[in-house]
């Protein structure tokens, strides 16, 4: 048992962090939100150049063959930068789903799509059949979708009926998607496999949302800490007041206690996915860990947002501060793909008759 990341894992996260520090600054986000800069195509190319779109793609398809446990730190970095492009949905969810379809022997354009997705030539998003709103559709060329969880379809964006919605996160417009009528499933006659694939996609979406929220929370704490050191009232930095210090320290505690939960969930998910194929049932405890990760990270990010705004005073409430971009991304990630109450309700179900055993000898078995 070892709760650390390898040097390779931390170094690639650091490299991504540095790249995003260059190409995804607060000023870049603002330019995008104000519409003074069209798109971020250059940014996607930079990410593709270091192979990120194919991070979880199989090596046979040109990917890096990484696992969820490797990707979690990368997702955290994209969160820290509030990256507008759907790298996490693409690399963390769509590519592994395409790979799983390919491994199941599905043709129908899947191997070609996988190859183009791994290289980053085509951006793919995942439209879970039970989700009303999907982010990142504007940059995507393809979408994995389904009329229900019993089927999976691969659609070009121009085949879908899209209803774009202005959304709370100004950098990630949400879209309501309707499939073209009569679309065939890629897995005819195998609804259980389709269901398994959607379940896996959802688990990945949640654990990587959790990772992004860790990054966002850390970013917001960082912004607030530096402001608290600069802003002076009553003749001294506001950060010299215990009230401010304690606020920020409280967020830090929440954040540090959310981290291992998220990392462990990613590692457990990787192990569980390797142990069984898409049709295999997901152990209840693994699911619970993923839910718990999203809950813990959402709580930390929510508190970070609320605290960072508070520490800034009125300027924290203004559009002119970049802080709002990070706060709004955190709120969106917390609300989408299962919000706080849905997580808690599902954990309750799993605990009471859902397959998680309780009792003194059970508490600390993985």
């Amino acid at each position: 048992m070892d709760f650390t990341f390898t040097e390779e894992q931390t170094m690639s996260a650091q490299a991504l962090g540095e790249l995003l520090g260059d190409v995804c600054t607060g000023a870049d986000l603002r330019a995008l939100a104000d519409g003074t800069l069209a798109g971020g195509a250059g940014r996607w190319q930079r990410l593709a150049a270091i192979g990120l779109p194919g991070a979880l793609g199989p090596e046979s398809a040109g990917g890096m063959g990484l696992t969820e446990a490797d990707f979690v730190l990368l997702a955290e970095e994209t969160g820290r930068a509030a990256l507008p492009e759907p790298l996490v949905a693409h690399a963390g969810v769509a590519v592994p789903m395409l790979a799983e379809l390919a491994a199941a022997g599905v043709s129908g354009g899947v191997p070609e799509a996988l190859e183009r997705a791994v290289s980053g030539a085509a951006c793919v998003v995942v439209a879970h059949p039970l989700e009303d709103y999907i982010a990142g559709v504007d940059t995507a060329e393809l979408a994995l979708a389904g009329a229900g969880v019993g089927q999976v379809a691969l659609c070009r964006r121009d085949e879908l009926r899209l209803l774009p919605q202005a959304s709370l996160d100004p950098l990630q417009p949400l879209v309501r998607i309707t499939l073209p009528a009569g679309r065939e499933s890629l897995l005819p006659g195998a609804p259980q496999v389709a269901e398994g694939l959607w379940r896996r996609a959802r688990m990945r979406t949640m654990v990587f949302a959790a990772a992004q929220m860790l990054g966002l929370a850390a970013r917001m704490v960082g912004i607030a800490v530096s402001y608290a050191g600069e802003r002076r009232q009553f003749g001294r930095p506001i950060g010299a007041n215990q009230a401010i210090k304690h606020h920020l320290a409280t967020v830090q505690v929440k954040l540090e206690f959310a981290r291992p939960v998220v990392y462990a969930a990613a590692a457990m998910l990787a192990d569980a996915f390797q142990a069984g194929g898409p049709a295999a049932a997901l152990p209840p405890l693994v699911e619970a860990r993923v839910l718990q990760a999203k809950l813990a990270a959402a709580d930390a990010a929510d508190l970070a947002a609320r605290t960072a705004i508070q520490v800034h005073g009125a300027i924290g409430y203004s559009w002119e501060l970049d802080l709002q971009f990070y706060a709004k991304r955190a709120w969106a990630l917390a609300a989408l793909n299962g919000n706080r109450n849905q997580m808690q309700r599902r954990i309750q179900e799993l605990l009471f008759g859902g397959g998680i055993e309780t009792g003194p000898d059970r508490l600390f078995t993985n």
């Binding site: 003749g235 001294r236 508070q310 409430y317 919000n339």
Partner: protein, 396 residues
């Protein structure tokens, strides 16, 4: 203690309810239920004039200035009926709730005659010039300067400096400005409270956008702006006392109307939870029940606080009121988002306009900041109500 209302008071309730219903189902139908701070401005300004004409604008004021000398109970009743009828947020609230009461208490007769009737009639609107870029919580460090200049048409104050976060300045004819009138003075000493016309060459406004997307507050630049020597409230140099008096009004009767708005927001939240089924979720039900309890506590506390106070001087329990409501509403905003789920992430209209509940969530991020931050409120409670030693302060 008497918590119910008398027959006469119930008759008064009937009278206001009838008038509100007639207006809001008739000429002001279009703005019924409007809660946006800068929405439907023209119609809401007209609404202020209608309130004024019917003498419903400032019922607690003396009749000679356009009020009705209404009792506390009557003001409670009016606030309740106003909210129940879905009447729109008051565009005039900074004049009605802050400038007016301050002038009434601290002003000269001439100032009262000049300003109060216009506020009551909805003919002149006000904004609050306290905060500056470097003077937020530490209001006493304001740097905007005023000097008295002798002129052929009488003496005038000449004002230079900058204010910021000034709500609704774009619709105001007047601003009350806390500024430094004694050169070289520091802290609360040497400040004056001036009433300054907005429409003049020396005043420039730049709107500031909020995280809600609305442009409700502004920056204001004073560059040789002028006002009459007689438009100083309180003695020159005594502005701090007046400025603090205004803050007390902010925590006073105006909280009644605010509570009723909260009541409407709470009802909307419950309706949303019923509509999308989250009302069946025990976790949501529990938080809704907590919010309801909090609202009741707020109401009793406000009534106790207002009953016990003398004019302008609220009892000590008033010190605890701001942090309570601000924290309550901030939580209500978070609950609203958990009730709405993904639907709360969606804007109602391009480019960035939200339905009431998501907007309330965003707006409630500011409740714990304006009118004294939560941290400052806690310091006040600890130091003034409990008498704990004062925090060390640096050199300003």
């Amino acid at each position: 203690m008497k918590l119910g209302f008398t027959l006469a008071e119930e008759a008064f309730r009937h009278e206001c309810a009838a008038w509100l219903e007639e207006q809001l189902s008739g000429p002001f139908r279009a703005i019924r239920g409007v809660t946006g701070l800068v929405a439907c401005v023209e119609q809401r300004l007209e609404w202020e004039r209608a309130l004024g004409r019917a003498r419903w604008s400032v019922i607690g004021w003396p009749a000679r200035y356009g009020g009705r000398d209404a009792s506390l109970a009557e003001q409670v009743i009016f606030a309740e009926e106003y909210a129940r009828a879905g009447a729109p947020g008051r565009m005039g609230h900074l004049g009605v709730e802050l400038a007016g009461p301050t002038i009434l208490q601290f002003g000269t007769d001439a100032q009262r005659e000049r300003f109060l009737p216009k506020i009551a009639a909805g003919e002149e609107f006000w904004c609050q010039g306290y905060s500056e870029p470097n003077a937020g919580s530490d209001l006493a460090s304001v740097r905007t300067r005023a000097r008295l200049e002798h002129g052929p048409d009488g003496d005038e104050w000449v004002i230079d400096g900058q204010k910021t976060w000034t709500s609704l300045a774009q619709f105001a004819q007047w601003i009350f400005v806390v500024c430094r009138s004694e050169e070289g003075s520091r802290g609360p000493a040497g400040l004056s409270y001036l009433l300054v016309p907005m429409q003049q060459k020396g005043v420039t406004i730049r709107p500031i956008r909020q995280i809600t997307g609305e442009e409700e507050f502004n920056e204001i630049f004073f560059d040789g702006a002028r006002t009459r020597a007689g438009y100083c409230v309180g003695r020159p140099g005594d502005g701090w006392k007046v400025a603090m008096g205004t803050l007390a009004f902010e925590r006073g009767v105006s909280t009644l109307a605010q509570q009723m708005r909260f009541r409407n927001e709470f009802d909307q939240l419950v309706a949303a939870a019923r509509a999308n089924g989250t009302a069946r979720d025990p976790l949501i039900r529990q938080r809704i029940a907590e919010a309801w309890i909090g609202l009741r506590i707020m109401r009793y506390s406000a009534l106790r606080m207002l009953s016990g106070g003398r004019e302008g001087a609220l009892p000590p329990e008033a010190l605890t009121y701001k942090i309570y409501w601000a924290s309550w509403r901030r939580r209500l905003g978070e609950l609203a988002m958990d009730v709405l789920g993904p639907a709360g992430e969606i804007a109602r209209a391009e480019p960035y306009e939200f339905d009431d509940l998501p907007r309330m969530f965003l707006a409630s991020r500011s409740d714990t900041i304006y009118a004294g931050t939560n941290e400052i409120q806690r310091n006040i409670i600890a130091e003034r109500a409990l008498g704990l030693p004062r925090e060390p302060r640096g050199d300003r």
